[in-house]
Subunit: 171 residues, 2 copies
């Protein structure tokens, strides 16, 4: 028995935070997809996936990392990181190294050829991104990055529903 117009949506009845969050999520997802399309295409020019690219980037900036660390950094599944590092190893760009202090763990590290490739590719890749993101000035980009950093940290820190359930059962 609502008297709302026929094309009214549930969204109209949301609280301000819920409405704001939903809106931001839609915009964020769309912006991500639009930029990812460019980045992905650029990575493909070198026969690489976006995920592979992310790993190379992480290893280049941080040096050798434990597989688990890479996993958390690029947010891929446990099996996924093994698969990706395998493939990058086959391509001769990455190698595994033993961890002296924990024999379960493995480091992923760039090979010399990997180093070379990244050094060759990255400046161009960054230039492409600068063009794609040219809609915002550098200060605006920095502000956006700061806001998104806060957003991402909060989201990563918020326990997921499944985790909460698990803890409830065990605790």
């Amino acid at each position: 028995m609502h008297s709302a117009p026929a094309n009214a949506t549930v969204t109209d009845d949301l609280s301000p935070d819920a409405s704001s969050a939903l809106h931001l999520w839609v915009i964020l997802a769309r912006a991500h997809a639009a930029i990812a399309a460019h980045a992905s295409e650029d990575a493909a020019r070198h026969g690489l996936t976006l995920a592979e690219f992310g790993i190379l980037e992480a290893l280049y900036h941080r040096g050798p990392l434990l597989l688990g660390e890479v996993q958390r950094r690029i947010l891929v599944s446990s099996g996924g990181i093994t698969f990706l590092v395998d493939r990058l190893t086959d391509k001769g760009l990455v190698e595994r190294r033993f961890c002296p202090s924990d024999r379960r763990a493995r480091y992923a590290a760039l090979t010399p050829r990997g180093q070379e490739l990244v050094a060759e590719i990255f400046p161009e890749h960054a230039k492409l991104l600068a063009k794609v993101m040219g809609g915002l000035s550098v200060p605006e980009q920095q502000m956006t990055a700061e806001l998104l950093r806060t957003l991402g940290l909060q989201a990563a820190g918020t326990p997921r529903a499944a985790d909460q359930l698990k803890h409830a059962v065990h605790g």
Copy 2:
């Protein structure tokens, strides 16, 4: 013959725009992944993919849309949209309708059951997002959305390398 430290990175040599864009892209991708993990898990509670969820959301807000419009909106491949609409049709949530003015085209529209489901699910979903995005105040969220909207439009409007090539060949 650089005199840079051994662990210097290419990033150090980038122009300010390139460096800023690269940084923003990494942060954006990470924030997206962190939030998507929550949204995805919530969608899964109802047996839905994030992409399916996106379609339902679009149809709910905008009413019946041509398949191509949905495709551009949620940025999935041409074959992907057919597959997803097929599956949502199998679930009884969406139906195809003929387009009177163009017999090639098809509309996707929510079925009554689809309408019902969305109306039931969405407020809760939005609340979850509000919790996940609680790291930013509502005004901050609005500012972020505005910045990302500009970013996304620019990225979507920037012709991709492949397109440029194509046009170059034809033009």
